[in-house]
């Protein structure tokens, strides 16, 4: 069989090694075209692998490749995809290719810039595709360094502070991945994720709690979860548009992906303990970040906070312990990847013309830039979960999942749903205020120069159009997308729920939120398991 995944991961990384030998003389044209072609080829490979070899009726790991790499410590090159990975691999290929196209205006050291972009391309796909804990850690770290450099060299005025904050946060978080990985190796006797998940029955409750907690810290930084989020506004506030697209579009999703794959997949009993906490954090994310976003006067930071707010739904979806909630969490990650990338791209495009990110200084640019206005409005509508676009379906699924979850007491469910629904009111307040301040009213001639307000060029319209096609496509007919991961998420949820229902672990005060009849249901309606 063709080693699809290895090729997909290695093509951009190997291509990156070629970049330093290309000429920078023509303003980086050669490099840009080269990178774009590599990006497109790799995306085509991903799509080809998906179309020819991915079976969405199966919940198991597919396209698996395992080669021993360093046998003494059990390290092996092990890749594979299932419903959790495949959509995110597709998303990564799509967004990164678009980000390369969005990097066209980069003039400062293009050779280095595109080298880093291509390394990230491979690194990010690697994170989603590898099935070995150690390898996962390596890829996780591999993608940090390019981001650090991209922030530190091409960022805004506060770039060094932001880059340092980013690297410290994530590096401290990733120590936990390493430690938990080693601990898992000792307990399960394997570094392979599928084997670890299969051996999870052996893990004691306390071990699970410790590991879950450790990984949660690592992924809370990435997702991000309150109160580990403060690196994100700084990093997003300073990044250039393409880096921005990658940060919001893909890097945040690594946290959510790893939460599902490892925390839920490896530690089902600990999930019972942590699920209400995840939900609580999700609610805090939604409301707190929406409020801070509303008060934020800096455009990039405003959207950055809105990302945090949207990620809250992922947590609630995971915590709901239902298939539809889990699907909603997954779909929210894909959807936010697309919407976040498009919004950040548009913010960059607007900044290129207004040269200010301060909302009070803007206003009235719609007359001069109707296309940017139209695209910005559409993407903001998508972000505030307008039906017909992907965000709505994802949030609806999370809402339905949470409110129909049989795990929790009625009071808890009602409280969570009501609080999360406050986000439904807050989101349009800050997004529409933002649109109003940027586009409506009259032009601020003191700061903005009218002749610099050129409307969107075809490249920009094309990028947004590419992003809007899946956003609207998912919104109109979500089943096409949810089918990619439905089997895997269903199997994962059912396996987890089954373990939770048969477990008898001390939950302390957290047991209050669980419906007392939840455990007895396991006997009554034992769900037939696939796999």
């Amino acid at each position: 069989m063709f080693p699809w995944l290895s090729v997909i991961i290695l093509v951009p990384i190997l291509a990156a090694l070629v970049v330093p030998f290309l000429s920078e003389k023509d303003g980086g044209k050669t490099i840009k075209w080269f990178s774009l072609v590599v990006g497109i080829i790799d995306f085509i490979l991903i799509v080809a692998a998906f179309v020819t070899s991915y079976d969405y009726t199966s919940s198991s790991m597919q396209l698996v490749e395992r080669y021993p790499w360093f046998p003494p410590i059990g390290l092996e090159w092990s890749v594979g995809v299932d419903g959790l990975s495949m959509p995110l691999v597709l998303l990564t290929g799509f967004i990164t290719t678009l980000a390369i196209a969005a990097s066209w205006p980069v003039t400062l050291r293009p050779r280095f810039f595109f080298f880093l972009l291509l390394v990230m391309y491979g690194g990010m796909i690697g994170v989603f595709a590898v099935q070995d804990m150690l390898l996962f850690f390596l890829f996780w770290e591999l993608e940090l360094i390019p981001v650090y450099l991209l922030l530190a060299i091409w960022g805004g005025y506060g770039r060094m502070y932001a880059a340092t904050k980013f690297i410290l946060y994530t590096a401290i978080g990733s120590i936990f991945i390493l430690v938990v990985g080693v601990a898992l190796y000792l307990q399960a006797g394997s570094l392979n994720m599928v084997e670890i998940a299969a051996a999870s029955g052996k893990f004691s409750f306390n071990f699970q709690l410790l590991c879950f907690g450790g990984l949660l810290i690592a992924y809370a930084v990435k997702l991000p979860i309150f109160p580990m989020h403060t690196w994100l506004p700084d990093a997003h506030g300073e990044a250039t548009a393409p880096v921005h697209m990658l940060l919001a579009g893909i890097l945040l999703k690594m946290g959510g992906y790893a939460l599902m794959r490892m925390n839920v997949g490896f530690f089902p009993e600990a999930t019972e303990w942590f699920a209400p906490i995840l939900i609580g954090l999700g609610v805090v994310n939604i409301i707190y970040a929406a409020l801070t976003s509303f008060a934020q006067r800096n455009l990039k930071r405003k959207i950055a906070y809105s990302s945090i707010s949207h990620m809250g739904f992922v947590l609630i979806g995971i915590g709901s312990l239902t298939e539809i909630g889990m699907n909603g969490a997954m779909l929210q990650m894909i959807s936010h990847g697309l919407i976040g990338a498009s919004l950040f791209f548009l913010v960059g495009a607007t900044y290129d013309r207004t040269h200010t990110l301060q909302l009070p200084e803007m206003g009235g640019i719609a007359t001069r830039m109707p296309k940017i206005f139209a695209m910005f409005t559409t993407c903001s509508m998508a972000s505030l979960a307008l039906p017909g676009m992907s965000g709505f379906v994802a949030e609806l699924m999370v809402f339905v999942g949470m409110s129909t979850s049989s795990a929790y007491t009625f009071e808890f469910k009602a409280l969570v749903v009501v609080l999360a629904a406050i986000g439904v009111i807050l989101t349009p307040i800050y997004l529409l205020s933002m649109l109003r301040e940027i586009f409506y009213g009259k032009l601020n001639h003191e700061v903005i120069h009218e002749d610099e307000l050129v409307d969107a060029e075809p490249r920009e319209v094309f990028i947004i159009a590419c992003l809007l096609v899946p956003i609207i496509g998912i919104g109109v007919y979500p089943k096409l997308t949810t089918d990619i991961f439905d089997k895997t998420t269903t199997a994962l949820t059912q396996a987890t729920v089954k373990r939770i229902q048969t477990a008898q672990n001390p939950l302390g005060i957290l047991s209050k939120v669980y419906d007392p009849s939840y455990k007895t249901k396991a006997v009554a309606e034992s769900v037939p398991l696939e796999n």
């Binding site: 410290l168 430690v179 080693v182 601990a183 000792l186 307990q187 004691s204 071990f207 410790l210 590991c211 109160p227 403060t230 506004p233 707190y288 409020l291 509303f294 008060a295 239902t322 298939e323 889990m326 009235g364 719609a366 007359t367 206005f373 139209a374 307008l386 039906p387 017909g388 709505f392 609806l396 699924m397 809402f399 339905v400 999942g401 409110s403 129909t404 049989s406 009625f410 469910k413 629904a421 406050i422 439904v424 009111i425 307040i429 800050y430 529409l432 109003r436 586009f439 409506y440 009213g441 009259k442 319209v461 007919y477 979500p478 089943k479 949810t482 439905d486 998420t489 949820t493 009849s517």
Partner: protein, 722 residues
Amino acid sequence: MELAYQAAWLIPVLPLMAALIIGLGILCFKGWTAQHRLWAAGLSIGTIALAFALSTLIFFTSFWSKREPFTKLFTWAQAGNFTIDVGYTVDNLGALMLFVVTAVAFLVMVYSHGYMEHDPGYVRFFAYLSLFSSSMLGLVLSPNLIQVYIFWELVGMCSYLLIGFWFSKKAAADAAQKAFVVNRVGDFGLLLGILGLFLVTQSFDFSVIAERLEQLYEVAKGASPEGMGLAADVVKFVQANPQLALGLATVVCLLAFMGPMAKSAQFPLHVWLPDAMEGPTPISALIHAATMVAAGVFLVARMFSIFEALPTVMTCIAWTGSITGVVGATIALTQMDIKKGLAYSTISQLGYMIMAMGLGAYTAAIFHLMTHAFFKAMLFLGSGSVIHSMEGVLGHENAKESQDMRLMGGLKHYMPVTSKTFLIGCLAISGIFPLSGFWSKDAILGEAFTKGILEGFEPSAAALWLIGVITAGMTAFYMFRMYFLTFEGEFRGNNPEVFSMVKAELSSAQDDQEEVTAHAEPAYGPGAMEVTELEQGHQHHDHHHEPHESPWSMTMPLAILAVPSIFAGLIGLPWMNWFGAAIHAPGHEEAHKFILSELAIVAGSSTVISLAGIALAYYLYILRPELPGQIAQSIKPLYQFSKQKWYMDDLYEWIFVRGSRALAQTALTTDKKVIDGAVNLSGFGAILAGEGLKYFESGRTQFYVLVFFGAIIPLVILFGLL
């Protein structure tokens, strides 16, 4: 006619195609589209005409043949065994709404061709109109609550886009955002209501929800849950706490009702509708009078059998409607802006419909919805025609003044078609025999009278009837006040004294004026003007000195709408209720029996009070025009209370706008100072640690490795032991 039903999905899809094609045209081939703008308008009007033809066919088939509702569904989203279906359904109510929406939309589009003729956003306007029509028609065809919610939000978005159509106008931008956010508050409730209903009944389908709720009430009363569709844990809960279950059901239904409250501008969520008049006038007619705002009433009708079983909910609905009716009418009494006056009148009339729903008068509410759609659309289009003409006199830079009735007067001499149709509208809305409004309003009041007095005295319904009658009197008064001020008497638009007085008052109310004139080239459209004026450009002083009648594309829709405004009532005569036979609440086959004496009392009392209102308006505004000012002076607090819209906007500004801003600011400060502060503090800690640790830096690698392993090994051992 099966084919027409099969093809019903085309009705929303046709305008959607038009919107998509025009939208792509604007984005990709801007210049070409701008040159071929008549094609764009033609495409919009053509598709809606086709949709109208199909809707008419379905409407008549459905009303005559009394067939079962036609439904088609497919799976839209899936997770495990859980599915959400979407599709379309056509029943009598849906068929009626299709007919009304497509008819009004078609006429408004024709009208818009004249009204927006010289607006730079002409093509965009038609794209939005088509998009709105499509969403509204999709809403009408929705078979379940999820799909209703989807289109509910989409019409809200179209409303947002259209209110903010002239985006360089600050007032328009504010109004658009206000409309969206207030509607989102309603949607918050609606979403929670939908989720709550789903939690109890495991369904989004209207009839299934109603049926299972009915079963739930039976169980609460002690019936056996055998053979019912309720989930086991729900049954258990209900059996354990029957009272609590009923209370929760009430809460859920009231939450769901918040959606209609916001969309149909019911007190206290009505504040967005008057501001929405910042949009172009055809929009006010189509969206903010005839169709979208009626969607709330439509949804209450769809959920009627869900609400009906809970008396508390029905009472709340009825009183919400009734209070809204009074609030709207009292504010409309003093408004000087012709569109604002009509907007408050719309609020008041929507209150009537909601009140009727709450009283269980399903047929009457929908009947009034239909007649109101026709005559209110006509009134708004008429006001647009007036504004068009006034802008010709006052100049387009005086958009606000052109809507002020103090500058109008005597227009009937200049605008015969507009003034006659406006008069018909005023008569219809005042409920004068035999115009359409008479029959529909009488149907509502008759129902309240029957419930409150004829079938034994019931204080709540009797009070509702009384309030309804008083509101009818106020309606007649303010509508004829509007008519007399606008069309009778002398034309005051050329009077510089009045003009400067009005201008001073308006600019003290808002700094919008300077905003507009400061712009060298007004980006928002001239709205409406004569073709010949185009060549004259924006020279402000080069306008007519006399008002003029609008072009045929604007007067023709007025004339056409006059026909149903007069005659539509005849299909629902109390003694030959063809309408009631086709449109009735699920499970209520027969409308109540016709009693001549009852008709005489109800119709008599409301007609008398309406005539009194008209007479008073005639006395105050024709015979003694100096009196209104004196009266306003003598009851200044009351007058200001009405004129300042019960101070609702100021109240909301203080509580919600400033409150949420302060809260958000607090959150941001916390984020910066507390959370980020802790991070920076730990950074400081790291520096201290580094200072201390540097004495360990001996440069010997072995020592580093030792420290590293010294740290890792205990951790590994700890994990290994667990």
